[in-house]
Symmetry: C2
Subunit: 636 residues, 2 copies
């Protein structure tokens, strides 16, 4: 079977971190550089900064008016106005002008009665030092303006200049070399062949390094070649502060990274009890940190956050990352293993004032689930799972205010949901829609548990032949609204040219079919049609194989990994498939009446009725939207 | 009196904002540009982005192992292992390798028994499609990756590349011209003369524009000359999207800005009911926004935040700024006027689990108070004030987690407080000290109200001649600790060469004295010495004039704005003043016993005892620190 490194360790996360940080503690030296103050935004002071001059530099008028000698204004009153002579008793000053000896007070322009060019009258005596900003009122030369290890903000830049500081010593940004490796890896932009993987992790790392105060130097992908990897890493260490090697960190036949790092230096940890992210390598070479991260996007992301970020902080001194933790109610039971600490991506919605966390796909390869997620729920290694309804800590990476302005949709999938969400962000900036695709039935169950504002549904009642309404009557006691969506055509999505000669449901026996998940309206429809045709599900090879969306099912057919799947015209069309219509169905939105007035729902309804959406639906094809946005109130 | 624009309006903030945004709504067009995906971090998508290809692009092995034809593995069991032939029944695959027809399942390496180079045995049948990542599992070609108006994060960059997107359409960053004006303004780095003001606002604006997604173009200061300002503004509008003119926006003799803007276009608002920040000008010229901001740093900052930031958002589409609002208890009564909405800078501390907001200086010129503040408390225009103890909304601009790790010190001022805070940030990154200088007595009162962890005190008990302890016995019922600080020398700080020939307190009559605020230990000491000398305070000119810190008092003497002040040796030394010692005093720290164990307090104690601090104190001079860090427990 070739050379495999089957023996990956399973070091607990915290232990791995401590081992590594201890090894690096005395090796990483926080370096500094002196830069112009105007270029220092977001940088961190290496040492305390003291003012070189005071501000104001002199006693200054705090108002527009006249500077006077307070002593000489005594006795002025409404009854006995006092006349003052220009240059002798007063001078005109604007705000900020110096007030020099013997002048020691300022009278506001509004309180001065002009007589002629050389004299004025006042009705009240001046108190010494009134309306004067004393020298050093804001900044006193020698005082500390900023402490060490302070992250410089715009206002700090203003104060530094006021205090006479034109250059500032800041912590130097560490240089991080990033090496993507793998023979199957191609650069973005090249046309991919089967077996190729477009390199994307290193670009994500680049952006993460920049976000955390480092300077990334990303290299072109290196093929799986021991010497090439070795030379690259060794060369980069001559002028970089840290190296990240991506992939090859696991135990496959071509996973050279750990061997290379062992030869060059010391591997302290190989394999961490974290999911996703296990095959992490933590090494020290030439007294510098070298980290091997796994290739799956989600593992790569979590590995970076867990191990690279804290090491970067040792260089940058950046400690102010506020983890945005909230308590949310878990919508679905989560089982985890004692073998690892697990990071579960969750969507978080606020429904009825309560934050609800719904777990997303747990696959390490599902980068899109990271994009769609609102945060992580962390299950500790010593925990076997969390029950639905329990309160969990969620580390948000979307802001709470965004979440509060998000319409939470859980239910059946259709391409138009993304379009609607998109138009909502355009027309009502600051309002969002989050859609989770679990199928119609599971969506209605989530709505009953108070986890959603709305459920996209297309459920055929076999007895009455009516869509959706019978289900709402059956499942809900509270007043419900059915917001009409679209009629859409469902049919069999088949390979181009229909090589299997499928003419209907009856011809599926012997073909490679791909089904949708249980509770999906499309699956309900398929089962109904099977029943009508009198066919047994066991005859259909792939009946148990599930795809989560119309598009995923279509993609499997398009790639010749299946011969047929039931789905909507839009998906077949997008994937260039043949389409055999089976029938029209009603795809609507179930909404509790009490949510109709939410501004997010109003935005949704507005978009649903908009010409812009209808135009986009025409472009995709297969939709009929005459009733879109009409509301049917369901009375028990 | 020259030409003054006395007639500034007082438009309410919200009204001004609506007037301006309405005027600009149809004039500002959100522009876009196409940039390489790797350069798109933090930029905002102009339109939805759809995947060009799927990920994975093919059915891929999800594990290292062998790809098999599931059908042919039927019947394998522990008792009847099944032998499979290489190339015929199986091929070896690593994670990520394509699995092609007719192979339709992967068996993990761990579950395979190797026999020889060409055959293996398995103990269990494979389920079709097991351990295979189906094509499009992560991304399906054609699916929406990112919606419009989405701020691009590192993970988004990864997904864009995986989806085949190498260029992305993003909202163009608006170009903002910044013009500092004023004849008295000099560039940072030039040696300032009396009357000069170092230009710093424009640099702060530059950084603020960058923080909010614009591109700043900052110009050199323009003198107060109508035509020069006019030509500059008009010229910049030919290629910039927005112009900021700094200062000259008020109603002084040389405030030309509003006249220039009126000639060039339309001034919609001049003067807003906001404090600080009133003299704001909101204009439209050549269909572009031109904003005049006041010159005082705090007014400039608040004017920018209130009026420039929302207009920038009209260009950038950035709506995700989460205002970090918290509820805090107000420590001191705040009176405000019905004439304006007021932004009061506050320090916020968490003491005993309760957030307390303490108002700072309300002067428009106090930029340092903006640096030291943790946030703003906003008093609405229709509110006359807020009582101490009331809960107020505070808009934080420091993170809550930082505030939670901050030791709150309120009391007497000494230079060493800044040094201690600095050393704390160096030795215990992530731990901070915040010190507010209100004098010893006011500090003890704040401690009694639960607003501080610690009070720096130097209060002489006249009867016993003992410092600090008698006050703690008198004022506190709960167990208190007195953490010993330093002995420091107080004396008269006098002008160089002592021109007024002051030999002691007795000689102060007739001199220009500057006092410290009521409740300050130094003032208590001064009063005590006055009493001893039998002198009447009314004989001392300037007894009522107050400076808030030793350094501020020293600066007034140094600038010949006063002849004498009582203060510490360190301040006199820092300002190059003569120093006439009056006596030694004990500057200690009062701490409730229950707070001694806080990690922040432990860090403070550690620094107080450190050689590094003592070394720094020696450099400044005038301190004796033999007992520093010793704790005296005060029993009732």
């Amino acid at each position: 079977m070739g050379k495999r490194n089957l023996y990956l360790n399973n070091t607990p996360v915290e232990e791995a971190r401590i081992i590594y940080e201890n090894a690096l503690k005395n090796r990483i030296k926080m370096d500094y550089e002196e830069i112009p103050t105007e270029a220092s935004l977001g940088r961190i002071t290496k040492e305390a900064v003291f003012a070189l001059c005071s501000s104001p530099l002199f006693n200054a008028a705090a108002m527009d008016g006249i500077a006077v000698i307070a002593e000489r204004t005594k006795g002025a009153s409404d009854r006995e106005p006092l006349e003052l002579k220009k240059q002798e008793d007063f001078i005109i000053v604007d705000t900020g002008d110096p007030v020099r000896y013997p002048y020691d007070a300022v009278i506001m322009a509004e309180d001065v009665i002009e007589m002629d060019d050389s004299s004025i009258k006042i009705l009240e005596a001046a108190v010494p030092w009134q309306h004067i900003r004393p020298v050093g009122e804001d900044i006193v030369a020698g005082e500390m303006l900023l402490a060490s290890m302070h992250k410089i903000r715009p206002i700090d830049i203003g104060v530094l200049f006021s205090g006479g500081i034109t250059n500032v010593k800041v912590v130097k940004q560490p240089k991080v070399a990033i090496f993507p490796t793998g023979t199957e890896i191609i650069e973005p932009g090249e046309a991919p062949k089967e077996g190729d993987i477009i390199e994307s992790n290193s670009r994500m790392f680049e952006a993460m390094v920049a976000s955390y105060g480092g300077i990334a130097e990303r290299f072109s992908p290196i093929e799986d070649d021991y010497d090439k990897i070795k030379n690259a890493v060794s060369g980069a260490l001559d002028y970089c502060d840290m190296v990240i090697v991506n992939a090859g960190s696991s135990a496959g036949t071509e996973d050279y990274t750990v061997h290379v790092l062992r030869e060059l230096g010391e591997v302290l940890v190989h394999g961490v009890a974290i999911k996703p992210g296990k095959p992490v390598i933590l090494a020290v070479i030439k007294n510098k940190p070298v980290i091997g991260l796994p290739g799956y996007p989600v593992s790569a992301y979590i590995g970076f956050e867990t191990f690279v970020k804290p090491i970067l902080a040792m260089f940058t001194g950046e400690h102010g990352y506020e983890s945005n933790k909230v308590k949310a109610v878990l919508s679905k039971r989560l089982v985890s293993s004692l073998k690892h600490k697990e990071y579960v991506r969750v969507k978080v919605g606020e429904v009825d004032g309560r934050l609800v966390a719904s777990p997303l796909s747990r696959g390490a390869g599902a980068a899109m689930s990271l994009v769609r997620a609102d945060g992580f729920c962390v299950i500790d290694q010593n925990c076997e799972g969390i029950e639905a309804g329990e309160a969990v800590n969620v580390e948000l990476y979307r802001s709470l205010s965004e979440i509060r302005h998000t319409l939470v949709s859980i239910g059946s999938h259709d391409l138009i949901l993304d379009l609607i969400g998109d138009l909502m962000s355009i027309h009502n900036p600051g309002i969002y829609m989050s859609s989770t695709h679990v199928g119609s039935m599971a969506g209605l169950m989530a709505l009953r548990r108070g986890e959603a504002h709305m459920v996209p549904v297309h459920l055929l009642d076999e007895e009455s032949g009516v869509y959706n309404i019978p289900y709402l009557l059956r499942l809900f006691k509270e007043p419900m609204a059915l917001v009409k969506g679209v009629k859409r055509i469902q049919g069999l999505m088949l390979q181009k040219g229909n090589p299997c000669m499928i003419k209907g449901i009856e011809d599926l026996a012997g073909c490679r079919y791909v089904n949708r998940q249980r509770g999906a309206g499309t699956r309900v429809l398929f089962d109904y049609r099977l029943k009508l045709s009198g066919m047994d599900a066991s005859l259909i090879s792939g009946y148990e194989r599930e795809a989560a969306t119309h598009m995923a099912a279509a993609a499997l057919v398009a790639s010749n990994s299946a011969d047929a799947a039931l789905g909507i015209y839009a998906a077949a069309n997008a994937m260039g498939l043949e389409f055999l219509p089976i029938g029209e169905e009603e795809y609507d939105f179930a909404v509790p009446v009490e949510y109709l007035d939410l501004p997010e729902m109003q935005s949704f309804l507005q978009v649903l009725k908009s010409k812009e959406l209808h135009h986009r639906m025409d472009e995709i094809g297969g939709y009929q939207y005459d009733m879109a946005g009409e509301i049917i109130f369901i009375h028990q």
